[in-house]
Amino acid sequence: MQIAVLSGKGGTGKTTVSTNLAKLINVRYIDCDVEEPNGFIFLKPQDIKSKEVSIPVPYVDEDKCIHCKKCVDICQFNALVHTDRVILFEKLCHGCGACRAVCPTMAIVEKDRPIGKIETGYSDDMECLSGTLNVTEPMAGPIISKLKGMIDDKTTIIDCSPGSSCNVVKPLLGVDYAILVTEPTEFGLHDLKIAVELVRKMKIPFGVIINRMSQEDNATSKYCKDDNINIIGTIPFDRDIAVMYSKGELLIKDEKYKKMFTDIMSNIEEAIGCSL
């Protein structure tokens, strides 16, 4: 079972929801928000092992190159250019290997270029994984794919990147349920609608959690009701939560919030029709 937690934009409480739920039911947690992973701050895993992630980039042996430019023409990402020799713009290279495949003289070899890392550790006996993209690197995809590849059939909660780009679509592939975290603001609603459209297109069952809720009737709740969207929980707008968050503490340490996440969990179990 895979459950993905998403949000239209950063800072809506995606990590709060995913870390607390994962810890509550003691399942594997994966932080796919590789540009700003912060799940480990709350889960505090021990014995962290770190592995570098690299992508294969082409390197041209100039003695073998016959300047046919086939490699330049095949590259979909405009990462190669030919002047009097082939030049690589490594930050645009996706490591797809197409250039190497078309080179008639086998002048292209591949070299590994590190773009980030994956860390694994344990919070008590709960497995925690997190990917980090190196600063200034533009391509999160390869790290997210690696992380996804580390998931087996054990129940896993996936903390996704904010937004609805390919960095969100990738982790969503193959998930069984999606939790959309939002805020009851106008911007929050706008982003929520985009996220709803995405999960509906991908045919993933989903429910909404409204974070920082201060009054019961708001445009977001109304939208969910009108659109038959299941609100699986709300998190109140309250000072205690902000204080716990700022100290890097999980909310389920406090009994009343633990109850809140337990209720959310039973709503999810009801929605997917089985218990986790």
Binding site: N78, V81, F89, L92, P138
Partner: protein, 121 residues
């Protein structure tokens, strides 16, 4: 010698385009034949690396001088690797640029302007 001007349309009476990588056409002037040739910029709509693609088009056309508004760092790197000189356009018409260039009025560009390419993000 060939001079390339980034252009908004395929006519010398049209406006020069300040965007090197995303302009729709390149006006390429040959100072031997005194004629202009217009080349479409296939890279204009590329999601990534438009400047690189554009620089490749310019290199492939045997251009010696580029006149434009601003370029990203990648495009500059390609043009410099191809020994192509880069100048900042003056005024707005395509057909005026070669005159400015011959009169020595244009300032050379060696640093990137606002980039729209895959840097940082």
């Amino acid at each position: 010698m060939k001079i390339c001007i980034s252009s908004t349309v395929d006519s010398i009476n049209g406006l020069a385009d300040g965007r090197f990588g995303r302009c729709p056409f390149y006006a390429i002037y040959d100072d031997e034949t005194k004629e202009y040739e217009f080349v479409e910029n296939e890279g204009a709509k590329a999601a990534q690396g438009a400047g690189i693609k554009a620089a490749q088009i310019v290199v492939d056309n045997g251009v010696d001088v580029v006149i434009t508004g601003s370029l990203g760092p990648n495009a500059i790197r390609v043009l410099q690797a191809g020994n192509i000189k880069i100048y900042k356009m003056l005024g707005d018409k395509v057909k005026e640029q070669v005159g400015y260039y011959n009169e020595g009025k244009l300032i050379s560009i060696d640093k990137p302007g606002a980039s729209h390419m895959g840097i940082g993000k």
